[in-house]
């Protein structure tokens, strides 16, 4: 693989990371902590919404994020032909 491709591969990887970690930040620090109080005014079922994100919701999103990352990166490896044989 040549240098230019390599740089491009890395850039795409960093873009994926930026997007996924933004979501990571928003659901945990955003909804679960910074905005928890205003969100608690809303209820889903018996949960105040901010409380739900802090103790349940964010964790579900975390699991999904890792699998999405795995899927994206495996595809990217194939596209740039840097996967393991």
């Amino acid at each position: 693989m040549n240098q230019k491709n390599h740089a491009l591969y890395w850039k795409r990887n960093l873009r994926y990371l930026a997007i996924l970690l933004s979501i990571w930040f928003v659901v945990s620090f955003g909804f679960g902590i910074i905005l928890a109080e205003p969100l608690n005014a809303f209820q889903i079922g018996g949960f105040p919404l901010g409380f739900w994100f802090a103790q349940q919701g964010a964790i579900y999103v975390f699991v999904i994020l890792i699998f999405v990352y795995m899927y994206l990166m495996n595809k990217l490896d194939l596209e740039f032909d840097v996967d393991e044989k």
């Binding site: 990371l17 018996g46 949960f47 802090a54 964790i59 975390f62 699998f67 990352y69 990166m73």
Partner: protein, 581 residues
């Protein structure tokens, strides 16, 4: 059958299973000892990682802590699982590609410096020993309550088991034992949670039942909020810490967790980089099952506790109360002499008038938070076999983590210290011998701390997380993502991060500069930015990042071959099994 008989049976069966697996999967080479030969299937590895990750703290203490902290307990839930995301996205695949055995290996090679390696070894040992001591205490609590043997004997039995399979089997033995332990611990955690959820809100899924409706038609959490305020506590769903402090503690726990050496090393055991990514996904999935159930268990336990205990005649209390009183982890003093238990928040000054009116003369019940999960099935009057199952689960959680940590201790000593620095000419066989000697010594030290737990365990654990966040985390991240990062920058960052963290801890946690422990409570107003010592790891980490970047830009770039190394770990192709150089 009695609880004790059930406990002997279940603990006996699970221990036999662990030992059987250890004999079946004995390690023959250093590679099998350190990284299980590097050929473990990702789902299997995911389960082992989950067991490794979830310690006695997760199984025994966490739900108890949350039930007393309410909303604020989210710092542990978010911190520990969110840190896992950082680990999976930012560290695991690259460290797998790097392909050496340990974290100090990475630090030492990436920063071409034995000083950096030694600092990393020291941090790894400090973090690991702190953790092991905590696990051993968990083992002691379980044994003393359920088998009714003295704590000392309990810890010795636990040590013997861990010694047997960690020293004999190495990583290979540990991996397969941990899979069995994961199954035991998750089953043991879920069964009582499901029972209690059905009992309280008639919903078999605790994650949903947590927001469900109780028998009297009100939402469980609304009801709990009511009970809390009635007794002078703050609302369960609101908490008491400031938002900034919750933010900082969460961030420090996240970064600290991502830097834990015994979990990072798990990713060296899978054959390929793509397996490292996949294995991380499964691990968090397996972890999340427990971590989303724990807050539900916390809310159930809190409601049950208040309902059962408060304003009940001491004579009328159920049997479990007396059982736990015997361990000294629960105590009742009848301050106003009315023969009833009054449990309320006597620290809340605004509430003291109401308490006076009711004739209450101070809180009469003290509960060690560690017993909530273990006592929960008894409080809910579940069958005896469920109570015994929880004991077996707690042991599984403690032993699996202790074994993983012992392995880090033994590799740090035999590989990073002896082989890489003091005696580079050792043969594979000698190194394996020394790894086993180090593991054996580690077991003894851990056992000592388990029998004589230092009074400051909690403080030291917080310190360990803070130190990992302030030292390891930035050094590893920058080592991968910043090609320009050099030895000078990384070392300066680590040293300043650690020193600052240590200073803050000594000042605000131990009160060293202001006349000792008693002064600590009075210092909360002078916390920098209003951040508690637990959360200060975040600040120290940010400063580390900043210093590293500035210093590295003012000093020469790292050598050519290091830059090539960084290029190389960024692409998956060519990752062989983890090698010994």
């Amino acid at each position: 059958m009695s609880v004790q008989t059930w406990t002997f049976i279940l603990v006996g069966i699970t221990f036999t299973l662990y030992i059987g697996i250890a004999i079946w999967s004995r390690a023959g080479s250093t590679k099998e000892f350190y990284v299980a030969g590097g050929g473990v299937h990702p789902i299997v590895n995911g389960m082992a990682t989950a067991a490794d990750w979830m310690s006695a703290a997760s199984f025994i203490s966490m739900a108890g802590l949350i039930s007393f902290m309410g909303y604020d307990g989210a710092v542990y839930l978010l911190g520990w699982t969110g840190g896992y995301v950082l680990l999976a996205l930012l560290l695991a695949p690259y460290l797998r590609k790097f392909g050496k055995f340990t974290v100090p290996d990475f630090i030492g090679d990436r920063y071409y410096s034995n000083t950096a390696r030694t600092v990393a070894v020291f941090c790894a040992l400090l973090v690991s020993f702190t953790y092991v001591a905590g696990q051993m205490r968990g083992v002691g609590v379980v044994f003393s309550r359920f088998l009714e043997v003295p704590i000392t004997q309990g810890v010795v039995i636990g040590m013997a088991i861990v010694f047997f399979y960690a020293v004999l089997g190495g990583m290979k033995g540990i991996t397969y034992t941990q899979v069995a332990q994961y199954c035991v611990l998750i089953f043991a955690f879920m069964v009582p949670a499901i029972f209690i959820s059905i009992q309280m809100v008639n919903n078999p899924i605790p994650q949903l039942g947590f927001g469900g409706v109780t028998a009297d038609g009100s939402y469980l959490l609304d009801k709990l909020n009511g009970l809390q305020t009635e007794l002078g506590f703050s609302e369960y769903t609101s908490g008491t810490k400031s938002m900034l402090d919750v933010f900082a503690i969460t961030a420090a726990l996240m970064a600290g967790t991502a830097g834990l050496p015994h979990v990072i090393v798990r990713f060296f055991t899978v054959p390929r980089v793509r397996d490292a990514r996949r294995s991380a996904g499964f691990a968090l999935l397996f972890i999340a099952i427990l971590y989303t159930t724990a807050p539900a268990v916390a809310a159930f336990a809190r409601t049950n506790l208040i309902n059962t205990v408060n304003n009940t005649e001491y004579e009328q209390l159920p049997e479990w109360f007396g059982n736990w009183e015997k361990t000294g982890l629960l105590s009742f003093t009848d301050k106003n002499g009315d023969g009833k238990v009054q449990y309320y928040n006597d620290k809340n000054l605004a509430f003291s008038d109401i308490a006076d009116e009711r004739g209450w003369k101070g809180n009469e019940l003290t509960i060690d938070r560690d017993i909530m999960v273990l006592a929960n099935p008894e409080i809910a009057q579940l069958p005896n076999w469920v109570i015994a199952l929880v004991a077996a689960g707690g042991l599984a959680a403690a032993l699996s983590t202790a074994a993983g940590l012992l392995l880090v201790i033994s590799t740090s000593i035999s590989h990073d210290l002896l082989k890489k620095q003091l005696r580079p000419n050792m043969t594979d066989k000698e190194e394996l011998f020394w790894a086993r000697v180090a593991a054996a010594a580690g077991v003894c030290v851990a056992g000592y701390f388990g029998i004589n737990p230092p009074g400051f365990v909690a403080a030291v654990v917080a310190l360990a997380f803070g130190l990992a966040a302030a030292s390891f985390f930035p050094a590893i991240i920058l080592g991968i993502f910043d090609k320009r990062m050099n030895m000078q920058g990384a070392v300066a960052g680590m040293v300043i991060g650690i020193s600052l963290m240590t200073f803050y801890m000594l000042k605000f946690k131990f009160g060293i500069f202001d006349g000792g422990k008693e002064a600590v409570a009075g210092l909360t107003d002078s916390w920098w930015f209003g951040i508690s010592p637990e959360g200060f790891g975040m600040v120290a980490m940010l400063i580390n990042f900043f210093i590293s970047l500035v210093v590295s830009r003012m000093t020469p770039a790292p050598p050519e071959h290091i830059q090539a190394l960084v290029e190389d770990i960024r692409i998956p192709r060519g990752a062989g099994a983890a090698t010994d150089h």
